[in-house]
Amino acid sequence: MPPSNSFFEQLVKAYANDLFRYAFWLSKDRDIAEDLVQETFSRAWKSIDKLKDENAAKAWLITILRRENARRFEKYQPDLVELEDALMADKAQYEPDEKMERQLLYQAILSLEPQFKEPLLLQVQWGFSGEEIAEQLDLKLATVNTRLFRARQLLKKRLTQSESAKRLIG
């Protein structure tokens, strides 16, 4: 059966936002994230006939996005230290304490090494099980579990360090 526009549209509606967020946390840059998402859907659209099982769409899209992201590093290695402080600082809907806390956590997540960040994103943001993460990242389940544990430990440690530093300064 030929792929339908409405099915593709449903995929976009269901996954584009979370793919953008995933791409953002990988690339640390909103423009690159959008390009990655555009490229992901472009590739998905071109080969949508290969998607046999609609339930597999989530993992399929993530796989395409991760490949696109990897391809980016084959081309060049940009300086990825840009922290979009403004993104968080300008959001007036958060109370000052909450804003500060989110900002610290935001920066702690940005600073996580990719091997810890990716399993965490797949689990917290995408709801993947340990087994699914292992399959997606081509790792053993035990390795995934260790990385998830380490990711949370690192976040807590960096948050505590940042909070102490802020207290000292201010």
């Binding site: 976009v12 584009a16 953008f20 859907f41 993104l87």
Partner: protein, 251 residues
């Protein structure tokens, strides 16, 4: 299972409590606080991960895909149609299907909105032609010296937030279209200038494409108004739309 193992498992996935862990909790009910605390921390992570998504992202993805053909269909219909014709049909089809959420400021009947949209299209095209006649220089590449604060204020006046410079923008000015004060921008895209007009207070039901006087146009509903993009080709519109919404947010 000992305390160390339990804590480790909770840190691996706070949502998963298997039988072994439940047994441990039965034996050590005070440790439920560990679970609560781990879950609360995950909620904070989850909230922080939910960064804002650029406005119009879905529309841009769909627009881009409308220029491309799924591999399986290449053989069948690319033989018969030129790329442009195929793209155009695709765009019109998808645009007709789009149902963008409308910010409901007041419930204006659907028929009335359609009539207003049609009137708006005409007014926008008329405005662009008037400008081209009276001040043709605004369509050209130029160094317009507008202070950042002044520019931000122009966007704020139409309910928009300028988060960063709009790429390829060569002109920005206030204008009046269809009886409403708006913001008039020109972007120098690859194939030539594209006009973007932001009209606060206007409403349309969903994104609409139009073609008038040899120009292609789109009207996109945003929080508190409408953004109209007009150029010479749908490719130009897609590109200008991307540059605009990467820099500007509404509401």
């Amino acid at each position: 299972m000992n305390e160390f193992e339990f804590q480790q498992r909770i840190q691996q996935d706070p949502k998963q409590l298997d039988l072994e862990m439940l047994d441990f909790l039965k034996a050590h009910p005070e440790k439920i606080d560990w679970v609560k605390s781990a879950r609360a921390f995950d909620q904070r992570i989850s909230k922080t991960l939910s960064v804002e998504v650029p406005e119009g992202l879905h529309d841009r993805i769909l627009l881009k895909s409308s220029f491309e053909t799924p591999a399986a269909n290449d053989r069948h219909w690319l033989k018969n149609l030129s790329v442009f014709a195929a793209s155009f049909v695709g765009v019109v089809f998808i645009l007709n299907l789009w149902i963008s959420p409308l910010e409901k400021q007041a419930s204006i009947p659907s028929g009335q909105l359609s009539a207003q949209a049609f009137q708006m299209e005409g007014a926008i095209i008329e405005h662009i032609f008037e400008h081209a006649k009276e001040a043709p220089e605004i369509m050209l590449k130029q160094d317009q010296n507008i202070q950042e604060a002044e520019l931000e204020s122009m966007f704020l006046n139409v309910g928009a937030i300028l988060n960063k410079p709009v790429e390829f923008m060569s002109y920005a000015g206030e204008c009046e279209v269809d009886g409403e004060k708006g913001l008039h921008l020109v972007l120098q895209e690859i194939e030539g200038p594209v006009t973007i007009i932001v009209l606060p207070g206007k409403q349309i039901e969903s994104m609409q494409a139009f073609r008038q006087s040899g120009l292609e146009g789109q009207m996109i509903p945003v929080k508190g108004g409408v953004v109209a993009i007009v150029g010479h080709s749908v490719q130009q519109l897609a590109s200008a739309q991307k540059h605009f919404f990467q820099a500007v947010t509404f509401g």
